[in-house]
């Protein structure tokens, strides 16, 4: 649709009027879009999470290793304690027990 010079002048006049509506510290202050800031904040949050992930994994792996080491030590200690408990006499008296057992054997048993 072709527009006449008159219509162009009218449009420019309306535009002029609209620009003259702009005042410093105006009451009709347009709302500023915060979309860009939200995107930047989300990007920073995402980067922070990505940066923290390897640290978190490293920490989790450390904790798992430590737990495994403690379990191994506990097992060894438990085995040691169990072996001590399973003895009929304390280790320093084991030689004496052997001698007593030898004395109580019959001759036939001794020759075997």
């Amino acid at each position: 649709m072709k527009i006449s010079d008159e219509q162009l002048r009218e449009a420019l006049s309306l535009f002029r009027e609209s620009v003259h509506e702009l005042h410093p510290h105006g009451a009709a202050r347009p709302v500023r879009s915060f979309a860009a800031w939200r995107i930047i904040a989300a990007a920073f949050a995402m980067l922070a999470v990505l940066a923290a992930l390897p640290l978190y994994r490293h920490r989790q792996s450390d904790l798992a290793n430590k737990a495994a080491r403690i379990d191994t030590q506990d097992d060894a200690l438990l085995r040691e304690v169990e072996s001590d408990i399973s003895l009929s006499v304390p280790p320093p008296m084991q030689q004496l027990e052997l001698l007593m057992a030898y004395d109580s054997m019959t001759n036939a048993e001794r020759t075997k």
Binding site: E10, A11, L14, F15, S18, L22, P24, P30, R32, A36
Partner: protein
């Protein structure tokens, strides 16, 4: 008795009162960024105050201020290319509605709103020079000779930019339903 010529910039407060709004609206219409417009208006007036001794009165005060504003807008637009995340935002539809509501009939108001939006859109798509020339001529009602002073362009260049800017506005208006 010798009469000393009094510079119009002697009373700088009056200069600010008279021209601040024109400087502000030119910058805001150029950048569509209210915060930047507020800052650059202050910067423009500060620069004018500091350079007031250099004002020779060959051009009007408004033309002189507009020359500073044009340079500030150009520098801001150059540096704004690096700040790609900052999108200028001005609610043009709210401004258009204010003006359109003054029309006599609802039909005229709707047409006016469309026309205003089309010219704003066309202005946004213009080059810095074309937009500057369009705003100085049709918003600030400056003469071609004043625009020549304010922009530092040759008269022929100003006329060529104005012609192209008007062509773009016309095309945008013709595309509107």
């Amino acid at each position: 008795m010798v009469l000393e010529a009094v510079s119009p910039l002697e009373d700088f407060e009056s200069v600010v009162r008279l021209h601040r709004q024109a400087v502000f609206r030119f910058i805001l219409a150029s950048l569509r960024d209210r915060d930047a417009a507020e800052t650059l208006t202050q910067e423009c007036l500060l620069r004018a105050y500091r350079a007031r001794d250099q004002f020779r009165g060959e051009a009007g005060v408004k033309t002189w201020l507009m020359r500073i504003a044009v340079n500030l807008v150009r520098d801001h637009q150059t540096s704004a290319r690096l700040r790609f995340w900052r999108r200028p935002h001005l609610d043009v539809s709210a401004i258009a509605r204010t003006v359109a509501d003054r029309q006599k009939s609802p039909e005229a108001a709707a047409a006016a709103k469309q026309q205003i939006a089309a010219v704003w859109e066309a202005a946004a798509g213009l080059s810095h020079r074309q937009r500057t020339v369009l705003l100085l001529r049709f918003v600030e009602d400056m003469e071609i000779s004043e625009i020549v002073e304010a922009t530092g362009m040759a008269e022929g260049t100003v006329k060529a930019h104005l012609f192209r800017a008007l062509q773009n506005v016309r095309q945008k208006l013709e595309k509107k339903p």
